[in-house]
Subunit: 449 residues, 2 copies
Amino acid sequence: MSNPDQLLKPLTNVDLMIEAHYIVPMSKTHRLLEDYTAIIDAGLIVELLPIAEARQKYTATLLVCLNEHALIPGLINLHSHAAMSLMRGIADDLPLMTWLEKHIWPTEQAVVSERYVKDASLLACAEMMSGGGTCFNDMYFYPQESAFAAKQAGMRANLGLVVLEFPTVYASDADDYLQKGFEAHDSWRGNPLITSSLAPHAPYTVSNQTFEKVITYAEQLSLGIHTHLHETRAEISQSETKYGLRPLQRLASFGLLGPNLVAAHCVHLQNQEMDMLAEYGCHIAHCPSSNLKLGSGIAPITALLAKNINVGLGTDGVASNNRMDMFTEMRLAALLAKGASEDATALPAYQALQMATINAAKAIGLEDKVGSIEVGKFADLAAVRLDDLMIAPCYDPISHLVYACGREHVTHTWVAGELRYCNGIYAGIEPRELKEIIDVWQPKLRQPN
Amino acid sequence: MSNPDQLLKPLTNVDLMIEAHYIVPMSKTHRLLEDYTAIIDAGLIVELLPIAEARQKYTATLLVCLNEHALIPGLINLHSHAAMSLMRGIADDLPLMTWLEKHIWPTEQAVVSERYVKDASLLACAEMMSGGGTCFNDMYFYPQESAFAAKQAGMRANLGLVVLEFPTVYASDADDYLQKGFEAHDSWRGNPLITSSLAPHAPYTVSNQTFEKVITYAEQLSLGIHTHLHETRAEISQSETKYGLRPLQRLASFGLLGPNLVAAHCVHLQNQEMDMLAEYGCHIAHCPSSNLKLGSGIAPITALLAKNINVGLGTDGVASNNRMDMFTEMRLAALLAKGASEDATALPAYQALQMATINAAKAIGLEDKVGSIEVGKFADLAAVRLDDLMIAPCYDPISHLVYACGREHVTHTWVAGELRYCNGIYAGIEPRELKEIIDVWQPKLRQPN
């Protein structure tokens, strides 16, 4: 400010400047920036500068000062069923097939409808955004309704066009699912926040013929593919009996493996299967809470990472979690990898943050748009308070974010530069609306039959 | 109220009535009481009655209405090093010996003092109470200072008279540790909230001769024994090399095993060792976060529970956690047992709550005083909000407490009927005091050498 030449330079006006004690860009160039400003205009990150420099160069319509916070890329939930939010804790501590056949599937048959999916997805968006979530990679019936909810919440979503073989309230057969999926895909075309993937549910619920159609459509429409894979041992042995192949081998036989595939879970993998996933550039959505809670097992994440396979994190549906909380998943992923491998250096805090941000963005083909705080990307951001005395002191903000903080420390969530959540308040959702959703649906879900 | 006879009965006045939507007594007789009142007088639970009946029988100096809450027994942290709170995240993602030798031990040598222990213990008490904690089973240097902190916070503590072979700032040799321990024990004698145990640190840091002394003193003074046991594989193989015995066999050879022993960790156990722990009635403090974070492994909790061994939960020191959060430990214990055993029915939510309450009370010999909400026990209680929309809906309060809630949902913590924490405010601690503790110690800990 003492240089008179500088005083003559006009300041550039931008929409938003966020001054933060720490910025954690998750870029290749910087691990941590201290006392930095993110300069944001038209939804995009324009520049990152030390606070003093930024003030000399820019003026902003809105200046947000986060003296005690870390600004991180918005968290990306790489495997969700948002509309299961209303089934939180509807059945716990049960074997997988009892849980599915006696509780989840009957409940779904009884209550799932367009209205249900919109309402439940809105509740899920509210939960995710309050925990710093800005994007989710979803799979459920009536995806156009999840799109409505995401649009209302102002949240980014990559929505699966779900395909199953068997009839549900949503569709009658695989072709009908595909047809309804494409209608949904058309319904949100042009919306900057909503993208699509093809979502054949799982090898055990989708036929060879349908998988082949999915591959053709994915190529024609340049879409990613999102499926469940090797979640349980039972699924693998059933496949061996029915097809003479393990599910991954079977998918490979169609040519389904590739850099557009996001495989959720991958709990049980042979070494050669990991090599195959690496070779084809497939992505994995690791869901540690869900895998543990359903008794599926512990995914070999340390081995997958050692093979340079891209791994992101997902909450799965809330019925098997029972939170849509990426902070819980980050901490658990880091801890579980260390414990399972008996190596405290496995999956350090920074890598857990990568899995919840840039890795997930890569997996759904959005790495040029989101997943890190870099010039030219959308300002999908979350601010996390580090000064809560209950988690003090803080020596290393990266460690603190993963091991000490919880989602309750998130104060702000922006999507494309728009503040969508701040300290309990949403830009697009009234708390009363969420309360009404609970009041309407909870009695119906309690006794679905 | 319609019976005129009732109107004539005078109401009994008591100190405190807590009306709760749910009471989770953790007693043998009731799993869940709905719309119930806990009647409390002189620190003790006098009666549990339906709300309407309670109002007809009692009047209270203080009535607390918790319409959206579950009232649970105060949580008991069965293995802590409270004074490590200021070392939260000082070193992460490192192998155990590097972590201990390069970071924790040098830091301790540089900063630990009476003042350090009092300050750090107070911070830990604040953290634990804000998460519903009412009691901790601790082991650290200068236990009389932890007693001062617990007294100030108004928290119950079972403090270990720590014994090591090697010199530290606190004591010079095993006899000196014991001597200082007994002085500490005398310093809090008569305090209703503070009790003692003998705390030989671990088989690898305590000699045969010292263990034998510990056993003698434990018998003479009727004290429990608290030690680390079979935390790592390295500890076991070192013992085999040095003593020709695994640590548990070695302890058994002195007669250390018994119903007054709390063994922390027990990550690596052979089947016959589990049988031995069962036979002698030993208690285990399971510390899932710490065991994972240090890469120690996954304790065989499902097998231990199947043998009817009493298992409680602990956070361990915050340097290897990095939270003193019993909600995190409950959820993780339940999930990890299911995942490790590949059985979703393993360690259901109710059992996780038992481990954090009544089981821990049993382990430290306080089961007649605390650990459940039963007539005649102290009113050590926590209230947990179940109506947060971010974790709605709630179908089963027990599941909700373990799988969906976090410590951020704790609103009130009482110890012996005294409200010690409520919505961010402490009866005995000023937030300024905690801030000052951080400000004083954080710079010293950052560069200890």
